[in-house]
Symmetry: C2
Subunit: 308 residues, 2 copies
């Protein structure tokens, strides 16, 4: 079952190297076991939580964690609990964003959203439980030999990234901006928070698990934030033109809903140019700060290329 | 402003000693500063988060943290970030429990619930942000001189307590049990999770900050879980007979809604006897495992006596 899921996710990546596929398959097994054994227990809440956490996905954030660990010279398997933690925070944010009070979406990744399948109460509660589980799981870095001081730093970064100043704050701003004409800087403000913060944290957590110097952790964190912004621009360009089949959710929804997107704020041409400019500076930063950047670079390249 | 809030909360305790009042006033200042400076930022989300976290309350859980730290021979101020963390997890659980999809309450602690005042989206998001903030804040134990290994242990315990197996799981079971006749053991199962888990964690976190031996931390954790169950029985007995003025929320609501309560399952007389029996074993455990149990004992006694 985990293998099927891994295969589906790999296909979505569309150009993963053999090394990326190995890491992805190992991550899927690790995530499935972590969630089945320790998150949710029996009953409907457990079902809802597993439905949300184990739904097929690109697993971009966990792969960023693992390849960042490797890029700074670490053993990637050490970072697996951090990869699970960021994926669970990501899954929580999707479940809650889809709620009727928020974006009110019925489909996600080609399946019914969690609250449509299990009801709204379990939609809220499974998201809540996923946040808590992410932090519990993060402490398992200790069992991988990561020093306690680094685990504490990881918790602090993930707590900040998930909270009111970053991910959740970005979602609040996103909702508030709906239906208004947003400026380029307002959109950047929203997306560096809503998407960038968790990607930055993914790189930072990988670097922490890989025992990188504090300065490298910090630089990779900042680089990941910008990477997230570029990916969001890319997604928004896709959303404007995609179909349900390739994107797995309703299309043209951002426009219909009046979502603040960078292409809408500055035009498609300028948005493409800005994304390309950011990607170039991300590549430069990664090459400068990592001793073995190849796999991280190939992940980023494959992601940027998908669906084109 | 913080002083007014502290005064109100102290009054609610109804019989706090001077030492408890000192700790409460210091906690209120610490909480207010933490939330204002680091949680929520500007905008409506920040307002909603502060409304939820700084609303008047008994502050029972943070006082359990501080007095448990002292009971094991620690300096109580070291435990302040842990006290903030458990109060924020408690505040999150109240905000989400009050949502329309859950208990659908309009009033809490005598004021409009967060989602009634700020809308449902910000009700969900402010709760989410409070969980994340709790973990970020917990890492600040390090700045109080608590060793990293103990901070990691504290994060693991709080993650577990807040998640699907405990607090959130208890809420899911509570909702599922509505309108059905619950057995005594089913009610115990719900309340040791929904109320007990966070009280157990409060004692454990205080003991960790106070540098207690691992065995003492474990015993106090278990003791706190039982204490939470006894307090829940006490609350349910109160709820059945109280008025809006003393309880600050709609009354008789548990009965009207068919909530699973211990008095409903076994009758009022047996429920009182069971609560008294648990309180006795809690007292015994605390006296056995703590070197300076007096203030923790007086807090528990004052809480058990309130509103009688």
């Amino acid at each position: 079952m985990a293998a099927t899921r891994a295969k589906r996710a790999t296909t979505a990546l569309s150009a993963g190297s053999r090394e990326l596929q190995t890491r992805l398959a190992t991550f899927e097994r690790f995530l499935t076991r972590a969630v089945r054994e320790r998150a949710g227990g029996p009953g409907r809440l457990g079902q809802a939580l597993r439905y949300a956490a184990l739904s097929p996905g690109k697993r971009l954030r966990p792969l960023l964690v693992l390849t960042a660990c490797e890029a700074v010279g670490g053993e990637w398997k050490r970072a697996l609990p951090a990869a699970v933690a960021v994926e669970c925070v990501h899954a929580f944010s999707l479940v809650h964003d889809d709620l009727p009070a928020m974006d009110d979406d019925d489909y996600r990744r080609g399946r019914l959203t969690t609250h449509k399948k299990f009801g709204e109460a379990l939609g809220v509660l499974s998201g809540d439980a996923l946040i808590a589980f992410a932090f519990e799981e993060l402490t398992r870095l200790r069992e991988q030999g990561v020093p306690d001081a680094r685990v504490v730093d990881a918790v602090r970064r993930l707590g900040r990234a998930a909270g009111a100043e970053e991910l959740v704050g970005g979602q609040a701003l996103d909702i508030a901006a709906e239906g208004r004409k947003a400026t380029a800087s307002a959109v950047r403000h929203i997306h560096t928070r809503k998407t960038g913060a968790l990607m930055g944290t993914s790189l930072a957590l990988g670097a922490l698990a890989g025992d990188a110097p504090a300065r490298t952790v910090e630089r990779l964190h900042e680089t990941g934030v910008m990477l997230g912004f570029a990916f969001q621009i890319h997604d928004d360009l896709l959303n404007a033109g995609s179909t349900l089949g390739t994107l797995g959710k309703r299309v043209g929804t951002d426009e219909a809903r009046g979502k603040a997107t960078y292409p809408a704020a500055v035009g498609e041409k300028r948005a493409r140019a800005e994304a390309a400019r950011i990607m170039k500076s991300v590549e430069t930063a990664i090459a400068r700060h990592c001793e073995k950047p190849e796999l991280l670079e190939s992940l980023i390249e494959a992601t940027a290329r998908r669906d084109r």
